[in-house]
C-alpha cells in the first residue's frame, strides 16, 4: 500500500522537513509566549471525586 501511495520524492522530502519545523515553531510559540503568564497549576482536588461510602446496615455475604 505504501508503494502505491508514495508521493514524488521532492514532495515527501518537503513534507518531512517542513512538517516538524512548522509544528516545532508552533509548539515553541505556545510554550514561550512573551506577554502571557503560564497557566496556573491545577490544584490536586480540581477534579472532584465521587465519594464512595459503605452501605448502612447491610450485611455482606463474604469478603
Amino acid at each position: 500500500m505504501a508503494d502505491a501511495n508514495r508521493q514524488p520524492l521532492l514532495d515527501r522530502a518537503a513534507a518531512l522537513v517542513a512538517g516538524p519545523f512548522l509544528l516545532g515553531q508552533r509548539a515553541l510559540s505556545l510554550a514561550f509566549l512573551p506577554d502571557k503568564p503560564s497557566p496556573p497549576e491545577p490544584s490536586p482536588d480540581a477534579t472532584p471525586r465521587i465519594p464512595i461510602t459503605p452501605p448502612e446496615h447491610a450485611i455482606k455475604r463474604r469478603g
Binding site: 500500500m1 505504501a2 491545577p42 459503605p54
Partner: protein, 998 residues
Amino acid sequence: MKTQLPEHGPVEAPRFWRTLEERVETLEARQAAHDEFLPGAIPGPGYDDVHGLPVQSGVSRRDFFGLVGAAAAVAATVACDRKGQGTVVPYTKRPVEVVPGVANYYASAFQEGRRIYPVLVKTREGRPIHLSGNDEHPGVKGKTSPRAMADVLRLYDPDRLRAPKAEGRTIGWVEAESRLHAALKDAKATGKPVLLISGALVSPTRKALLADLKAALPTLEHLAYEPALGDAGEEAAKASFGEAVDLQPRLAKAKVILSLGADFLNGEDPEALGAWGAKRRLKDAHDPINRLWVLEGPLTLTGTNADVRIPIAPSRLGAMAFALAKGLAAKGVVLPAGADLAGISAGAPAEIPAKTWSALLNDLRQAGRQAVVLCGAQMPVEVHQAAHLLNAMLNSEAVAMLPAEPLATVKDLAAAVQGMAAGRYAAAIFWDVNPAFTFPMAAAWKTALPKVPLRAWIGLMEDETSAQCQLLLPESHWLESWGDFSTPSAAVLQQPTLGTLYDTRQGEDILLGALKALGAAAPGSYHAFLQARWQKEVLTGASFEQALHDGLLKVEPKSVAPVFRGASAAAAAKRAAESNTEGLELVLFPGFATHDGRHANNSWLQETPDPITKMTWDNPVSVSVQDAKALGLQEGDLVTLSLDNVTLRLPAVIQPGQAQGVLALALGYGRSTGGVAKGVGANAYPLMGVDPAAANVRRGVRLAKAGGTKELARTQSHHRMEGRDIVRSLTMAEYAHDPQGHRHTPEIVSLYEEQRFPDHKWGMVIDLAACVGCSACMVACQSENNVPVVGPEQVARGREMHWIRIDRYYEGELENPRVVHQPMLCQHCDSAPCENVCPVNATTHSSEGLNQMTYNRCVGTRYCGNNCPYKVRRFNFLEYTAYKTEPETLAYNPEVTVRPRGVMEKCSFCVQRINDGKVRAKGEGRAILDGEVTTACMAGCPSDAIVFGDLKDPKSKVAQLVNASRAYRVLEELGVKPAITYLADLKNPAVVGGSHAV
C-alpha cells in the same frame, strides 16, 4: 454488503450459513470470506490503516509516521513539563468492611417488570462492579439475566440526576419535599385526586407503604404500568381466571412444550433456562429429552431452539390453538365445562402439513400433564386464552399460576390522560416510569399533562416524562436502596451495596416523607419500615441479619390454582375465528437491549448484538424473505412503515425464518434523552394500539421503500471462517444411531514438542445443545473484563471488542431454517498460531495452558489476529478508555488491566479468577476444588452450557465431558490443539412416517 435475493438458490448450498450472502453465495460473500476481515478493519488498497477510511490525504502510512516521529522529537524538547500528576494515598479512615484488594459480596435483588432477579453483588473498595445470580435462591440457582448483569453500569451512568430540581434549577430536598407535601395536603383538603403511576408492584412492603399512603390520602389513584409486558396477557387472565395471574413455566416437569409466539428462552427467565439446559445436556441418547414445538411469526430465540418450528402469522395462532383444543377433545381429552368452540374449524390448518399436525396432537395428548402450552406476551388476547384452555385440558403441571397484582393497561392509561386533560387531578407523580415515551398517543399526553397543577417525577435519569414535570426528585439506584420482593419459593431482600453516590433518595423514602407530612405515623426511613414489616409478618423467629446475608428467606411455595372459566373460551374462540389475516402484520416486542426503553442508555446492552438479527445500536424492521423479494428490498434499505397516520422511516433487515406477511420491530429505541440513548433507532410506541386485546400485533401496516440505505452495525458477517466444519448438529435419531458418527478426527503431525503442564491445564467445554444464544455470557464477560464499548460506526467496521461472541448459524432453507448458536472465544490453543508470529513475545503460553497477553509488550502489529483461525482477537484501533472519567471508571474491575489504543486483547479464561481461586486455596492449605474457579461466561450462563475446570483433574466435570460422544474441537484439523471442546447440538424433531416433521 448488498444482497439481491435470488429466484433460485445455488445448486449446492452450504449446509450451515450465517448470512444471506453466504446462503446465496454472492461474489461479495466469496470476496469477504477470502478477505477475512471487513474493509476498514485491516489496511488494504484504498483504505487508511489507522482510521479505516478511504485514503484522502495522499500521505502514506510511512510518510505519516516519518512526519510524526520528527515532529515528536521537536515537540518533546519543549514539552518536558510535569502535569496531570495523580496522587496515590492510602485510606486515612478505612471503612471497617473494606480490605483493599479483597472483594466483598452482598446479596440483593433487581426488578424488571414482574420478574425478580436475586443477585450477588461483587464490590471492590466499596464499588459494586459485577453481578451474578444468588446461588441461595431455589429458583434461579445462581443465574440471572443479561440486562440484570448490565444494570451495574446504570449505577455509574454520568446522566444520572444528582440533586432535586424545580423548573430546571437545582434545589435542596427541603424545598423539593415542601412543594410536594404542600400539593398533597392541598389535594387532601380539596378532595381532588392525585395520580401515581409506577412500575409493577411485586414488593409486599412497597404495597403496604402504598396502602398506608392511600389511607392517608384517600383520593390517591395508583396505576402500575409496564408497557413491555403486553396488555393482552392481563386481559386474558382476567377473562380466563377472573384475576391477574403471573404465569411461570416449570420446564423441569415438561416433556412437550408448545410455544405460541412465546420467547421464554430469551434470557429473561433464568429459571426456565436452567431447566431447559438440564433437559438438553444429554450424556447419551437414552437420556430423556424434551421436545419443543414453536408456532410463531417473527423468529425468536425460542424459535431458534425449536425441534419443530412453523412460521405462522400471530393473527392465525388463536384459531390454530383452538383447533388444537378441538383436536385434543376429539382424541378424548375433556374440554372444560362451557367451552364452546363451535366457530373453530377442526383438522389441520392450511399452513401445517396434516402429518405434522397429527404428530403435534399426539405429542400433547401423550405427554398429558407433562405437556405445556406457553403464549407470547405480545400475542393477541385470544391466543392467551387458547393457551389457558389447552393447559386446563392437559391439566399441565409444567406451568405455575401465581397470584399477581393487576397491571394497568394502555386503556387505563388513556382514561388517566382524559382525566388529566379534563383537569381532574390535583397532582401527578411518575415513579420510575416514562409514559411520555411509552404511551402510544404521544400528542394527547403532551396536551393533557400540563393541565395537572403539580407534576412530580421520581427517577434515575431525566427522560421524556421528566421534561414535562416541574419537580424532579432524583432516585437512588437499586444498588443503593432497600426493598423486598415476593418470589414463589422465597421472600427476597434488596439491600444497598454502597452509600448513595449523589444527593438522591429511594422512591419509597420520598413517599414515606409524604405519608408523614399527611399526618400518618411512620418510621423514620424505609429501611426501618421494611424491617418492622419483616419482623411482624415474614421472619417468624428467623433472623433479619441472616436473611440479609442470604438475600432471602425461603418460604413454602403457595399453590394457588385459579379456576379456569370454561365459558370464557367461547368468546375468545369466536374472536379467533373472525380474526382478520389480510395484509401485512406488525409485531412490536420489547428490545433485547432496551426492554421497554429503560435500558436504552446502557452502552453494554446497546453494543451486545441482538441474538436474532445480530444488530447493535439500532432497531431495524425485520422483513420476511418472501416479502423482501416481493418488495425488491435489500438489507439496509430505508423503508417507511405507516399505520394510522404514524409513519416511521427506518432501515430494513431480511430475516430468514420470519413468517410471510409479518414484520417485527423492537420497542424501547428512539429515545430523545440520554447521552447514549438519544437518537439510537426509532420509537415504535406510536405504532402500538390502544386496544389492550391486541396492542402489540397491528394489522394493516404499509411498508414501502423510502429510498436510500443505512449502514447497519451488524456483527453477523464479521469474523467468518469460510464454511469450515465449525458447528455440528445432530438429530436424536442420528445420535442414537451412531453417537460418534459426527467425528472425523484427523491425524495430526506436529513439529512442536508436546507441552507439559505440571500443575493445572485449564480447559472448557461448551454444550451447543444447551446453549440457547441468549448472550448472557457476553455481558458477563464485558462486565468482568472491562471490555470497551466502541460505538456503532466502529462496529460497522468489524471492530467490536467482545472477547466472546455468539455465532448464529442457519441450516436449511431461507424461509424456515434451523438454527445453531455457538459461543466463540479464544480457544487457548496449545500450539497457538498467534504466539508464533508475535515479534515482541506479547502473547505467550503459560504453564497452565493459558494463552496470555502481556499488554505492555504489545506493539500492535496485529499479526496474531491475522493468524488466529478462530478470529477471536480484538485490537484497540482507537482510544476507547483513556478519556473516561468518574463515574464511568468506577465500574471497572481493578483486577483486569484497562487496555489502551494500539494493543491487542482477547479472552484470558478470566485469569484473575483463576489466581483468586489459587490464592484462596493456598491460604486454606488445600488443592483447588472442581467448580471453585468459574469464568465470568460460565457463571453467567443460565443454561449451564459452559463448563470450565482443570483438565488434569480426572474427576473434574470438564475432564469427563471432553471425552463425551458429542465432543469435538473446532478446526481440529489445523493441529492447533484448542483447549475448548464443543459438544454437538441436538435437535429432537418428531418423526412422522419415517421422516422429521417440518
